[in-house]
């Protein structure tokens, strides 16, 4: 090779090298999941007045991922005896919650808290009543292997799914994973990612209240009066500073972004001691978090009885009565509770209006949405 040929070759080589390094260094796409995935991107439509949804970069929504997630959500093979799926404790008819105070696992053992409703979870920032999971993917890991729930160790769970590809009567999960994630190797991480994708599209935004906010319908006088009460401070102003004889709901069940929850953790005065269930303190170890639980959304609240973290109240009337009483004092009870000033002091008629408003948050189209039903 003569000397005269080298400079252009070197220049070309350097140029290509620079391009290669440059593209790798500057491209924000980190190719996780694999760049060569053939899954079809799914665009989630954000409903009016809702905030953007933060979707993890490593788990973008895809048509195939969502459909796989739906199959897995309703897959009874993910329990040790093949009798339970996630959907067993999150019934559509109950607003994707459990109508029992505590869910019963495959061994007959019961949990210690009410199964939370599945609705608009893509906007939440912490999961479980005590917030011990900070992502949907992390949350999904727990029920499958929990001995009081589906009781199937994850290594066995993924093996069952992997083997289902060999039986022609079963769903060919390896192929489904290949479509969704460009791999036939099933892992707990990919199972949770698929289910999380499915849960993120479970969006409720077509209740009567939503329709009213969009100007498509009217609220009755009682419903509107209940909404106004929802937005007013509670208590008699003669006794409770700032009281407006309202329901005092909006502080915690914030209507910001139409979430009807601030997703924070509060002690709402159910108990004075917390030896049975420390709530958030069980996660943080901070005694000031004792008795604090996640504020649930009010969406579909009329469908998701029983109420509170332990399902102690069977009806919305009982719930309102609790807040009307002011709750029990403790060193961590939320300052919004009127435990030392006689409670909310709502009349029976006012309570009925508040409940009428809560019923406007029921989204029957959501619970009947065929995209969310059991496909098996």
């Amino acid at each position: 090779m003569s000397m005269c040929c080298r400079p252009p070759q070197i220049a070309l080589f350097l140029f290509l090298t620079l391009c290669l390094i440059g593209c790798k260094g500057c491209n924000p796409d980190t190719c996780d999941p694999p760049c060569d995935t053939i899954a079809t991107p799914y665009t989630l439509e954000i409903p009016p007045f809702f905030p953007p949804m933060d979707i993890p970069e490593d788990n973008p929504l895809t048509e195939e991922g969502i459909e796989l997630g739906r199959l897995l959500f309703w897959e009874k093979a993910l329990s040790a005896d093949g009798s339970m799926s996630c959907g067993s404790c999150h019934l559509p008819s109950a607003g994707f919650a459990d109508p029992n105070p505590y869910s019963t696992g495959i061994t007959g053992a019961q949990g210690i808290r009410n199964a939370m409703a599945i609705v608009n979870l893509g906007w939440a920032s912490a999961y479980f009543w005590d917030g011990r999971s900070t992502s949907l993917e992390e949350q999904i890991l727990e029920p499958v292997s929990h001995p009081d729930e589906m009781a199937l160790p994850w290594n066995e769970a993924v093996q069952k799914l992997q083997n289902m590809g060999t039986n022609e009567n079963d769903i060919d999960y390896p192929s489904r994973f290949n479509l969704a994630f460009a791999t036939t190797e099933i892992t707990p991480d990919l199972v949770t990612k698929a289910i999380a994708q499915f849960l993120r599209i479970m969006v409720s935004a077509d209740s009567k209240f939503d329709q009213w906010r969009r100007g498509e319908t009217s609220l009755t006088d009682d419903e509107f009066a209940g909404y106004q009460m929802f937005l007013l401070e509670g208590g008699d102003p003669e006794i409770t500073p700032g009281g407006q004889f309202g329901g005092d709901c909006f502080h915690c069940h914030s209507e910001a972004g139409l979430q009807f929850s601030d997703y924070l953790f509060r002690n709402n005065g159910l108990d004075s001691t917390f030896t049975n269930d420390a709530g958030l303190a069980g996660v943080t170890g901070n005694s000031l978090d004792s008795g604090r639980f996640k504020t649930p959304t009010l969406r579909n609240i009329a469908l998701t009885a029983p109420y509170m973290h332990d399902g102690r109240f069977q009806t919305l009337e009982e719930v309102i009565d609790h807040y009307n009483s002011g709750g029990l004092p403790s060193t961590t009870v939320d300052p919004f509770m009127k435990y030392n000033t006689g409670g909310l002091m709502l009349s029976e008629a006012q309570k009925a209006r508040l409940i009428a408003f809560m019923h406007t948050l029921t989204d029957t189209a959501f619970i009947a949405d065929p995209r969310f039903q059991d496909p098996h």
């Binding site: 005269c4 400079p7 252009p8 070197i10 220049a11 350097l14 140029f15 620079l18 391009c19 440059g22 593209c23 260094g25 500057c26 491209n27 924000p28 007045f49 809702f50 905030p51 953007p52 933060d54 906007w123 920032s125 937005l231 401070e233 409770t240 500073p241 700032g242 407006q244 909006f250 502080h251 914030s254 209507e255 910001a256 972004g257 139409l258 979430q259 601030d262 997703y263 924070l264 901070n286 000031l288 004092p329 403790s330 060193t331 961590t332 009870v333 300052p335 919004f336 509770m337 435990y339 030392n340």
Partner: protein, 261 residues
């Protein structure tokens, strides 16, 4: 040698062009590496009677009531520096301080120059307070739905400017069971805090100037011109026609000190 030199120059030129093209086409997000004019770092600290204190500690107020602050959050908007021409230069538009989280500090870029004063708004100016939809902000923004969690009232009443929450006891030795809940907001509660620097600060290109702002939560209850008895006035939600929130904001106006770092 001449030929070789000519050849090399050509190819250096070709390489330079290729490099320039590559930089232009494929490194668009290198913009974040642009050199900032200069930076200001502000560290916010929570104190009680001039002493370092943490959220959740039981302390005594000026009337000897045991008090425990469980939550102290505050919107600051904007933060501005005054240059030698007397112009206020914004360095930060809005921030939400949460004193339960250690290390409340923020760094913002600022024009290089000499500054003789700092001011910041406690709360939110009217144009970003009421009739604002939090859902219109990106989720990372302090006024967004998740960013403002617990600090948004309603579309008409806007945001809570300051949350000062906790428990107190009426006497030493008693359990802390009485609720303390000061939620200050509404446009009328917005206050501007101004500090003239004893010595001008000079912000230089690519350098960071730092100072601390200490908020004395005890001074929220007693100041040079007013004091509040938490037993008599334990709660405000800034309802129309009440003055407690305005009194608290006036007291908070005097509760800040500026410290060079």
């Amino acid at each position: 040698m001449k030929n070789l030199f000519t050849f090399t120059v050509r190819h250096v030129q070709a390489l330079a062009m290729a490099l320039a093209l590559f930089t232009f086409v494929s490194c668009d997000n290198n913009r974040e590496e642009e050199v900032l004019p200069g930076s200001v770092r502000i560290e916010f600290n929570h104190k009680w009677n001039g002493e370092e204190s943490g959220i959740g500690e039981v302390l005594n107020d000026h009337l000897n009531h045991p008090v425990r602050l469980d939550n102290l959050q505050m919107y600051i908007s904007p933060i501005e520096l005054r240059n030698e021409r007397g112009e206020w230069i914004e360095v930060l538009d809005v921030a939400l301080l949460d004193f339960a989280i250690d290390g409340q500090r923020m760094t913002a870029s600022a024009e290089s120059g000499t500054y003789n004063a700092l001011r910041f708004g406690m709360g939110l100016p009217p144009e970003i307070n009421t009739n604002i939809d939090p859902a219109s902000y990106a989720n990372e923004h302090p006024l967004s739905v998740p960013g403002s969690a617990g600090m948004f009232w309603t579309w008409s009443s806007g945001y809570v400017f300051v949350k000062y929450e906790g428990k107190f006891a009426t006497e030493i030795g008693n359990q802390l069971l009485e609720p303390l809940s000061y939620h200050c907001g509404t446009d009328e509660s917005y206050r501007m805090v101004t500090f003239d620097f004893e010595e001008n600060i000079v912000i230089q290109s690519e350098e960071i100037s730092a100072f601390g702002l200490d908020f004395d939560a005890a001074a929220t209850l007693i100041g040079p011109e007013d004091s509040i008895d938490i037993v008599q006035d334990p709660v405000t939600h800034s309802a129309q026609g009440t003055i407690l929130a305005a009194r608290l904001m006036d007291l908070m106006d005097d509760a800040w000190t500026l410290n060079p770092l």
